[in-house]
Structure formats: C-alpha cells, structure tokens
Symmetry: C2
Subunit: 333 residues, 2 copies
C-alpha cells in the first residue's frame, strides 16, 4: 500500500461590521479558492449573519472541491477572525458594537454548523498574522500591525508568536493616548491615536478645517455636503494640490508618527505594517510619517524597523484567520 | 560514593550613575549575602568604576564564603545590570551617558577579571525581573515594570519571559509620548511620559508652580532655594497639607495614569509594578493613579491588572541581575 501526502485545506473567515469575507487556502498558503466578500447586513440580527457566514463557508468549500478535486475530508477546519473583545479560550465574541453581538459563542456555532473544527481570534490579530505569513511582514520576528479604517486596530507578533495579553485585549494601539488632554474618544479615554489618525478622524479634521476655508477643492468635491467627505476624498484632493487637504494629510502623518514612534520605543519591532484605506495615499503618507518617526523615536529602534504598507488588502484578515487556525489547531504556521 | 546536591551561588551587580550595588544570592533566592551599595564615582573613569565593581564582587564572594562555608567553586557566575542601550549578544554597553561609557565590553571584562561566567542585561529589565522573581510581581505572566527616578525606565515580561525587542531597546516606557505637542525631552521627542512623571519632572512642575505662589510650604522647606526642591520634598509638603504640593502630586497621578492606561491597552498585563522613590508616597499616589487608569483604559484590561508598588527597593536590580543570569546562563529561573 502506498500513501500520498494529501493537500489539506483551511477556510478563513473575516467578519466585520461592513463585510463578510471568506476563502479557502491550501495549507501552504500558495493557493486561494472561492474568495468572496459580501455585505454583513448586521441589522438582520446575529442568527441571520451566522447563517450567511455558514452559507459562504459551504460555498467556498464547494468551489474548492470543484476546482481541485479534493475530498471534503481534506478540509482541516475553519479559522474565524471577528471584532473583539473576545474570550478566545471559550471561543466567544464578548461585545461587537458594529455587529450588535453580545456573548456570541461564534467558534462552536460555526464548528457545529459546518461540521469542522473552528478557531476564533481578533480580526486585527488575524490581519497582522496574515501580513506576517504571506504579506509585507514576512520574515519579521517582532511585528506590530495597524489597520487604519473607521478606527485603528492593532495586532502584535512578539518573538514569532501572536501576543494576546492576560485577557485577550492586548494590542489596542488605536486607544493609545498621544495627547492626554486631547479629543474625547468613545472608549472613554482622551487623546486616543484613533481620534487623530483613523479614516474617520482624517475626514473630521478636514471638515473642521473647511468651515474656515470655503475655497478648498474639497468643498466642490462634495458639493458643499461636508458630511459626505471621506478620508479617501481628502487624499484625492491632496493629490490634486489642494493646500488644505495637503495640510490635513501632513498632520495625519505627524499624529500617526507620534503613535508609531511610541510603538518603536516600546516594542522595538523589526516590522510595522500599516494596512487599511489610508495606505493608498502611498508616499504622501509614508514619507512624512517616516520623517516624524525618525524625529521622535530612539535611533536604535528606528534603525531596526521597517515601516511598510500591507500587501494583502482585502485578504489579510482571511489569510490570518487561516494562519491562526494553523497555529491554534495544527500547532504551527 | 555519595553525592549531595550543593547550593550554588550567583552574584548580582546593579551599576548606575549614582551607586554600585552588589550581593550574592543562593540559587533559590532565599538568602542574600554581602549586600553593599557604594557611590559609583563615574567621574573617575570607566576603568576605575570597573575596578570598583570587581572589588565589590570579590568582597561579596568572600563574605558569602565566610558566612556559609561554601567553596569558591559553588559560585555559578555574575549577573550584571547596567544602563542601556546595550548589545546584549556581545555583552557591550553601547552608551551610558550618566557613566560616560561608550562601547564598553562590560560582560567579558567582568568575566575575565572575576574568573566566572557573566551575563549583562538592561538595569530596568533586571529590576522588573527581580520584582517578578522575588517581589511584587510574583506569579505574573505578563508584567510591565516601571522604575521612576531621575527618568522613567521600563521592563517587559511577556508570556513569562523578558522581552527585549529586535535590537535590545524595547520597553522604553518613559519615552512614550502622552502629549504629542508637549514638553521637549532630551531624547529628541516631545511629550515623553518622563517629562511629566519622573522625579525630576515632579520637582520641576512644583518649581514652575511656585513662581506664582510664594505662600507654599515648599518655599520654606528649601529656604527659597527652588533649585534644591526634590520630588521627595513635594510629597512631604503634600503630606503636610500644602495645597500646591497636593495639586502637583495629583497632576503626577493623572500623567502617570495616562501612561499606565496606555500600557494596559497595549500590553494587557496582569501586573504593573512601579518602583522608585516616588512610590514612597503610597496611597497619595496610587489611589488617584488607579482612578485615572480606570477612567482611561479598557475595562477588560483594568480588571486583568493589578498596579502595585515594588517590594524590593534597593535590591530589585541585584535580584533581577541574578535572575537574568539564571535565565541566560542556566536556562531557567
């Protein structure tokens, strides 16, 4: 009798307030199958969202089987990334305001419904682990990941392993105070980095500046409807030379630079990987950011670190959910 | 032939800009021998300081032998804690401004001169590891240590091990920005925690406040010579009910609270151990500090952490130097 080492497959799920993204990867991470992203429709309730997740997982499995000829027994399990705070040990999402979830035993529900082993980790941790496994942070030993979107999420890989802290809430980099008497944050703190450098904050700072400057291109971009101004539009206006937008982008880099400098002085990482929409600004963000970091952080920490944009936009969370499954259920990535 | 497991001894050395402290501990940490602290006299040059360290180590060994009847062969080695930045792998102190040292190969010099294996680690790391091994942070899995004196040093024990980062400069908690447009720090950054909550900063904030208030008890305490005002005197004046001093102490707790809240949100530790002179203020510091932390940090992080004063004043550095020797040279504490 001859045995042949069969390829195993793992399904990755990234569930957020806006979208559910699902795909299957082979164990090596070389191939992705059945990648799909669909609106979460959180307002339909947690049961409907879970049903939707299960359907998407089944579809990804079916498409992988169709494409590769694999048997269903070749699927090792499902890694799920979800917004925190979580109780990882029990596999429970404690609170997810954007999804309206409270104490949802997501891991075991998914495992039961799909009929495969499942793991659960924080979405920001997953995104960081994804970039470390297959993306911009490959080869790093100490990696700090930041995902800048509506808020700022963080993930920590220290000495080659995800660091979760004592009650699974480590890595809340967006809620690091950079101005102790600064802007109020809905977390209850003042001066959180997220209040200055998230996509939401960028748009808000631009709106605030616009009330005193009606000549800006940004006014015209939104037909005067300032509420519809987004960070993406601010960056677009800056690209077109709008002075006010350029100033907002520059300030963003300075605030973010203070945050990243803190990260360098505290963690002394070899990679800081920044993901999310604002990284599309490219050098307009990273060049002043690096300058600010160099001005603020210890030279030995600056020299040790590369600050890079993520290279898995849209899939880092899925890839990382698969990687956490590999670490937690299979013992290694 | 019968063998008897002999007690082994390790010498711990804590060298700083002000004092050199040395003692020998048995491997279990249960007993301390020949504890001594002497002025460093850094102005006499690095060779004189190293000679002094070697004499103190030899004395500690001789006193341990006299007291226990141990043989010299029972000494496993010397653990040294020194101000950073260090190159731990090469055992070199890269720069120590308060000692006037540059690229001093301290580990190997001590090993050669004493004739025992030696290890070298950062003094703040040693202090944290000391509190974890035998002091206030015992039993912690994730411990952040802060030593508040002239500056603010930090040490990190994550998942039960000292975390050094990618180039041995991790844990610079004193140089975490808590006010990105705030006070200039000699590290080059602005708004470092150290500029608000170190002993030096406490005295300076009091002096600044005193220029506008000549009724304060603090004026009389230093006979109007404000330059001689210290953090200890500020706390003493607060204890005696001086309103201005009470305000300075309260502000210190708030600044420190912002820093500790950042630590909780980022590291989610089970213990934050605060050492150094200012902890003598006791509840006058810790009570408003805890309140501020509770106001700022995530509840799940606050609930997981105890914030405690160090219990090894004067010896945490020595104890931790012994513990780092055990971890690095003997493989375990």
């Amino acid at each position: 009798m001859t045995t042949r080492k069969k390829t195993r497959y793992i399904v990755g799920v990234d569930v957020g307030g806006t979208n559910i993204a699902v795909a299957a990867l082979d164990e090596s991470g070389a191939n992705t199958y059945g990648l799909r992203s669909e609106p979460t429709r959180a307002d339909q309730g947690s049961e409907a969202v879970v049903d939707h997740m299960v359907r998407m997982i089944d579809t990804a499995i079916a498409e992988t089987i169709a494409e590769t000829g694999a048997k269903r027994s070749a699927f090792a399990g499902v890694g799920v990334g979800a917004p925190g705070p979580l109780d990882r040990e029990r596999g429970v999402v404690l609170v997810a305001p954007n999804l309206g979830w409270h104490n949802l035993a997501l891991r075991d529900i998914i495992a039961d419904r799909v009929g495969l082993t499942a793991t659960l980790d924080n979405d920001a941790n997953c995104a960081t682990l994804g970039e470390w496994w297959l993306g911009a942070a490959r080869g790093g030993r100490n990696v700090v990941g930041m995902t800048i979107g509506t808020g700022i999420g963080g993930g920590l890989i220290l000495d080659g392993k995800l660091y979760h802290g004592s009650s699974d809430v480590a890595g809340e980099i967006g809620h690091m105070t950079i101005d102790s008497t600064g802007r109020w944050c809905k977390c209850g703190n003042y001066g959180c980095l997220e209040q200055y450098a998230s996509g939401t904050a960028i748009a808000r700072r631009a709106r605030e500046a616009l009330t005193a400057d009606s000549d800006s291109l940004m006014h015209r971009m939104v037909d005067g409807a300032l509420d519809s101004l987004t960070a993406a539009l601010v960056y677009e206006a800056a690209k077109q030379g709008d002075m006010l937008a350029i100033e907002v982008v520059h300030d963003t880099a300075r605030f973010l630079g203070a945050g990243v400098a803190n990260i360098l002085n505290i963690f002394n990482p070899d990679v800081v990987v920044i993901a999310g929409g604002v990284t599309q600004a490219g050098e307009a963000l990273f060049e002043p950011l690096e300058r600010e970091v160099r001005r603020r952080a210890f030279k030995a920490a600056v020299d040790a670190a590369r600050i890079v944009p993520g290279t898995l936009p849209g899939t880092a969370g899925i890839v990382g959910a698969v990687a956490t499954f590999k670490q937690q259920a299979l013992g290694a990535v």
